[in-house]
């Protein structure tokens, strides 16, 4: 009674065979092999159905029959969009993808000694051997990851040599145009921060309303010894977009990985973060918020693996659900037998603002080491009426009072962000989300 019986892989197999020659770098035999192997692994397992525990709360039935065709490269149309979203005062490189392809006109990639920042397709054609090795070492963890590898149209590569601290954050824009209707946008990204180096990345996911497209990003991260990586994501997709974003991180000894996300848009939004601490004293911090209404379905899935001793991890997610919004937080902490003296915390708090809102939470602990401190907490509730009353008595109207409380509720997870412009953008978006409601 497995789900794959209901899944007809032929659609995807046929599609792949008909289109493989037009995918970027199709002339490279090894890449062709990588893609072909990936598609057959995907077809073998199929799309995850509702019986698959990890996908319990997000239904992908519509992907079983509809094929979202691979997006095509388009000419630059809207140059203002970058100005609109870019953070002021952030001077680092800007990397822009439009409909799944790197756009060199809109991008601004600054050269720096010891830093490789380039599009995946360029990286592959310029260093095919290195690229081949990167793909050999890459490990897809699920069938959707395989599908991504098979049909990816690009991505970015960031490699930072030892002992380099990037002064300015890199901004990466994932933009979908009106032409992405019924298209899939698949990017595969590689980030490798070598020992004692550090970097900050800000990612934006933007698509227009009423455009039904499927975005699927997979990012593989290596955080070297004593290295540090911070990722900040703003997911502001249109109301019809399917947004899937998976981050796999390999954290080495004393490595430090931080991941912040805010999810606002999309009809299906799935943020998967799977960090593994593979060295002593690894440190991982995952934080974020999801705000949903009117058909938004947010699913945040974390799988935090502690493989080595004395690691710390912290997860904190807040959900705010209004009428027609649905959310799921599925967090998993795995502590291996050797990972003694681990500290792991997990927290998920949800606010339900109205009828027809739904919040699901599954904070899971799997612990095989005895000398650890692990905890998790979850709450679901509504806004405190007394707090609203207090604010109203101070002259705020109902809506403003609610907005203020929601903003404060969400603000907690973004409190520790040192980049002021990023922090205020997060709060701004959360505040305006509530005001845009009825």
């Amino acid at each position: 009674m497995t789900e794959k019986n209901h899944f007809d892989g032929r659609n995807y197999a046929n599609y792949f065979n008909a289109h493989r020659h037009i995918l970027p770098n199709a002339e490279l035999a090894w890449l062709n092999d990588v893609r072909a192997k990936a598609i057959s692994s995907f077809i073998e397992v199929g799309l995850p159905g509702p019986k698959v525990e990890e996908w319990k709360y997000t239904n992908l039935n519509l992907l079983k029959t509809t094929i979202y065709e691979t997006s095509e490269k388009i000419a630059t149309e809207n140059t203002d969009i970058i100005q609109k979203y870019a953070l002021e005062g952030v001077l680092g490189s800007k990397v822009v993808f439009v409909d799944g392809y790197f756009n060199s006109e809109l991008s601004d990639v600054q050269k720096q000694q010891g830093v490789v920042l380039t599009s995946l397709n360029e990286f592959i054609s310029a260093n095919p051997e290195h690229a081949e090795q990167v793909f050999q070492e890459s490990k897809n963890q699920d069938s959707l990851g395989e599908l991504n590898t098979a049909l990816m149209t690009g991505g970015f590569v960031l490699i930072i040599d030892e002992n380099i601290k990037l002064a300015e954050p890199i901004q990466i824009f994932h933009i979908a145009s009106e032409k992405s209707q019924a298209k899939s946008l698949r990017l595969k990204n590689f980030i490798n921060i070598k020992s004692t180096s550090s970097a900050q990345i800000i990612e934006y996911f933007i698509s227009p309303d009423n455009i039904d497209c499927w975005r699927q990003n997979v990012t593989e991260v290596i955080v070297g010894e004593k290295a540090k990586l911070e990722i900040y994501q703003f997911q502001q997709e249109g109301n019809e977009t399917i947004h899937m974003n998976q981050t796999l991180a390999d954290v080495k000894e004393s490595g430090n990985f931080k991941h912040y996300s805010l999810n606002i848009g999309g009809k299906i939004s799935r943020t998967e973060i799977k960090p593994t601490i593979n060295g002593l004293y690894g440190n991982v911090d995952l934080r974020g918020a999801f705000l949903g209404r009117n058909g938004n379905s947010h699913d945040v899935f974390t799988h935090m693996k502690h493989m080595k001793p004395e690691g710390d991890s912290n997860q904190s997610y807040r959900g705010v659900l209004d009428k027609g919004g649905k959310s799921a937080f599925q967090g998993k902490v795995y502590v291996a037998k050797d990972a003694q003296l681990t500290n792991a915390n997990q927290s998920n708090k949800n606010l339900l603002l109205d009828r027809g809102a739904e919040a699901n939470s599954k904070p899971e602990l799997l612990i095989y080491a005895d000398d650890v401190k692990c905890s998790h907490g979850t709450t679901v509730g509504e806004l405190d009426n007394e707090a609203i009353f207090y604010l109203k008595s101070r002259g705020l109207d109902q809506k403003a009072a609610k907005a203020l409380l929601v903003e404060a509720f969400v603000a907690e997870v973004f409190e520790d962000i040192k980049l002021q412009s990023v922090k205020s953008r997060y709060l701004e978006l959360a505040g305006s989300w509530l005001e845009s409601g009825d």
Partner: protein, 484 residues
């Protein structure tokens, strides 16, 4: 499924022209090995069951044939061969039992002693064939009379099927439907015996009911079925199991417990489960796969599950509460201890359906040796369940570095007025606590037992007096050999 030759022959031997091709031979003590329709007919005939119940069993059996054994629990065990099991065996006759305590496994006796069980009770527990079981016969008789006076029905489920068919028809399978899940369906097809309790309107049951006093039904076998109905405004406290270690030849135990609670009624259901957990190397031991569910159908009804799980090689159960009536309350208090190679995947489900319902979950898991202990629980709030409250706390304690403790909670809210809280921690016994106890003159095992008892106190306090004292000692015994 093709019936084995042995089965067919036996059935043919005993069958005549009866409608089901079958006459009961009361003298036959065992149904042939394996499972098929004839075996079910045999069990049903043996129990002199009405026709509708046989139909019900057969329907369940047909459904069961189409079902697959679930593999989602985090349990590692060899799936039972369902054709290699005896589904019916009459209680042992006096000749087969040990003649005196001298014939009983000395290790078992040692444990009895530690629990402080009297010699006479030891004889009963280890199945020694005594002609008159000291006082308990008369005690039981007195009890039954007292219950009868108040209109409480307390009998075996087979008796109920004959004597109270209306109640049985109305409630059997109404909480755990015959096709509910793999093991519950199997139970529906082949249940051999169990307890039936009915508390009439407005009656507060004068004493705590326990299978222990239903001595004529001591051996209920491996497929037990319990059905308790608390009518409007009534109250009953029911005790299941006992602290004494229970040995059983049957490896698979798949029981079903159904509770029905009507307006303003309350059921308190306490379990102490101490089946044989297997030896130190994980050989043998009972598989305890139980479906327990309570339906709070009435307004302001209340159910409280308390369980102390120390035995069984594998425990797989989730006593659940369907909070249907407005203002109904569900409680779940659990201590699960696993040592050596034991595995437990246990927890609860609280389904909030009515308005102003509330639930509390307190779960304490203790894992030692090479054991795995999993809390798995669901709190679900349906769209019309206004003003739901839930508080969940599940704490795990790890003793030794080869065991595992896992927490898998599901929280699903579809109503904005719900207030749900869940918290969980995992830790080990702190060195300071242990050191303090040691310097006060306790040895390591006593110290661990003391600390574990403190860790479980919130749950132990919920146990009825009958259990509480022995259960405390039991915690210590279950953890023997886990430290030092």
């Amino acid at each position: 499924m093709v019936s084995t030759l042995e089965t067919r022959q036996t059935v043919e031997e005993v069958s005549g022209d009866y409608k089901y091709g079958f006459v009961t031979d009361i003298e036959m003590v065992k149904a042939p090995k394996g499972l098929n329709e004839d075996v079910i007919k045999f069990i049903s005939a043996k129990k002199k069951e009405p026709e509708w119940l046989l139909e019900w069993r057969l329907k369940a059996y047909k459904k069961w044939l189409t079902m697959e054994e679930p593999d989602w629990p985090m349990l590692d065990y060899k799936k039972p061969d369902f054709q290699d099991i005896y589904y019916y065996a009459a209680p042992k006759s006096a000749d087969d039992r040990p003649k005196s305590l001298d014939e009983v496994d000395p290790e078992l006796l040692k444990t009895y002693e530690k629990l402080g069980i009297s010699l006479q009770e030891q004889e009963v527990l280890s199945g020694v064939a005594v002609d008159i079981v000291f006082d308990s016969v008369s005690v039981a008789t007195t009890f039954r009379e007292a219950l009868k006076k108040r209109g409480v029905i307390f009998c075996s489920i087979s008796e109920a099927a004959q004597d109270y068919p209306e109640l049985m028809k109305k409630y059997l399978g109404s909480v755990v439907p015959a096709a509910d899940n793999f093991y519950a369906t199997l139970n529906s097809a082949v249940f051999t015996d169990g307890t039936f309790v009915y508390i009439p309107k407005g009656v507060r049951c004068p004493m705590e009911l326990s299978t222990y006093f239903r001595i004529n039904e001591a051996n209920t076998g491996q497929f037990e079925r319990t059905l308790i109905i608390a009518d409007e405004g009534s109250y009953v406290s029911y005790l299941e199991g006992c602290t004494a270690p229970m040995r059983d030849e049957n490896q698979l135990h798949a029981a079903v417990v159904e509770l029905i609670i009507l307006d303003d009624a309350e059921i308190k259901y306490s379990t102490v489960q101490n089946w044989y957990p297997g030896n130190k190397d994980g050989v043998g031991g009972i598989f305890n796969f139980v479906t327990k569910r309570a339906a709070c159908r009435g307004k302001n009804s209340k159910v409280s599950w308390t369980q102390v799980e120390t035995g069984s090689a594998i425990t797989w159960k989730y006593p659940s509460c369907l909070l249907i009536g407005d203002g109904s309350v569900g409680e779940f208090y659990s201590v699960a201890i696993t040592n050596n190679y034991q595995q437990a995947d246990t927890g609860t489900k609280m389904i909030h359906i009515g308005k102003n319902t509330s639930s509390t979950i307190i779960s304490k898991g203790i894992s030692a040796g090479k054991a795995q202990n999993i809390y798995r629980g669901l709190v679900k709030v349906m769209p019309n369940a206004e003003n739901t409250r839930n508080f969940t706390q599940c704490d795990s304690l790890l003793i030794g570095d080869e065991c595992g403790a896992h927490t898998v909670p599901y929280i699903e809210a579809k109503n904005p007025t719900a207030q749900l809280e869940h918290e969980a921690t995992t830790s080990k016994i702190s060195e300071e606590q242990l050191f303090y106890c040691l310097q006060r003159g306790l040895d390591v095992e006593e110290a661990v037992s003391l600390i574990v008892n403190g860790f479980c106190k919130e749950v132990m306090m919920q146990l009825p007096m009958e259990f509480a004292v022995e259960a405390q000692k039991l915690l210590g015994i279950s953890l023997e050999g886990s430290v030092g």
